[in-house]
Assembly symmetry: C2
Homo-oligomer: 285 residues x 2
Amino acid sequence: MAASVSLSSGKVPNSEVQQEVKLLNGVYDNYGGVVVQMTEPMDSKLFASLLQSSLSHWKQEGKKGVWIKLPIGLVDLVEVAVKEGFWYHHAEPTYLMLIYWIPGGAHTLPANASHRVGIGAFVMNQKREVLVVQENSGRFRGKGIWKFPTGVVDQGEDICEAAVREVKEETSIDAEFVEVLAFRQSHQSFFEKSDLFFVCMLRPLSFNIQKQENEIEAAQWMPLEEYMVQPFVQKEGLLKYMIDICLAKIEGSYSGFSPVPTTSIFSDQKHYLYLNAADLKHSNI
Amino acid sequence: MAASVSLSSGKVPNSEVQQEVKLLNGVYDNYGGVVVQMTEPMDSKLFASLLQSSLSHWKQEGKKGVWIKLPIGLVDLVEVAVKEGFWYHHAEPTYLMLIYWIPGGAHTLPANASHRVGIGAFVMNQKREVLVVQENSGRFRGKGIWKFPTGVVDQGEDICEAAVREVKEETSIDAEFVEVLAFRQSHQSFFEKSDLFFVCMLRPLSFNIQKQENEIEAAQWMPLEEYMVQPFVQKEGLLKYMIDICLAKIEGSYSGFSPVPTTSIFSDQKHYLYLNAADLKHSNI
């Protein structure tokens, strides 16, 4: 995608004598779309006029979706784009992405990100004690409930990294990632968005707890049985199952999904594939 | 959260003689925040003035985060909010959510949704043939590559439902969900967003293929060995692993995660927990 926008000239073939008109600088994508990334301020009337002539030009070229990325500093152009028929696709702190569908009718543009991703960490020492915390904000504040460390996976962060980071941040315990034991998908968890919550098993590498000052009220190693009998743990669907899974894991009869680095021919980045490595190892293929 | 916004009166205690001022109607959340949902048009100067007095009031009350939800019809108010120091949190086609952090400095507000979720479907019949398609748009267009049906999980849709829906849409084959065989997390896959891709196994319930007109170039039942030897499948990291997993699955030596409905004391909705049900069944707990 282009990193800047500038005016460009386009041949508009809708008159017998072709005339040069100024257009917004759009980059064509692989899906018949045009991506415009605005970077410099522009008079809103000029922007409106360029947008109209550009849409007309792209329509003649058979283009379908038009994307306009407006940095928050160009907030005065948002209303112009909406008045031309654009609507919101997604927003991040520093920009707003607007879209327009030239063919009209139902569009086939990709949807916005739909899920937030969280982790919970099952960390047990040799004495069959689990690492638990009490939170001092949110729904668990002041309830006296001991729970596994949990947290949100940052944008661009791997699930296995996030689990290690959250345990370290909340309790200062160093731990290594073992596997994903289970995951839960829930909806309407944060405004209209859905949530994927991965329960991860980690092996502790250090044992002296130092709780985080801001978010954590208390942290300790707690006998698993003591954690299990908490009324909240007994009542909450996910946690009831997690007890069975953790017990099965302790006796060595449960395999979760462990991360395997893979590469893709479409990307330079390493991706983690999470799979049942134990079963794969024991298969005859 | 309130479904509407109206003017409300608040006591402002910063003068010796308390005076009534008009405030935006905000609902307080559990995290020291205020949520304002605008629904009716408002003069932008009045909005600016109300926003200023409201922020001043909420600051005195010790509030931290302020959320303003602006429907796209009120796009003229976006610039006002940004000029008062608000920035974008997220956007959907019909609205923009703006936030403000009263204490200043680094905020602790929850991040926007970070992941898109996709599925790939491994569907095999009794003749050891897999259901494959060729796509007629995107990166696979015109490449002659046969691939498992894939698709994006809609907002609010369960992974297991999405897999069944995509198979039906692309090929008209009815199938029932068996389990998640593996999943991959990748980053920077769609603008700055990450991607979680779940490879699912489905059992076919019907066998006559009728391909979707718009997105699918061709669809067929293909001998697994023929699918496997495609150069693209041999080269792509995820797919190489998937061959091993599918072969292990066929010989009965691989367990994925299957969905179990659970409930939460925090929600009326049913959630699916995905876990290794086979191992759990065979454990001694």
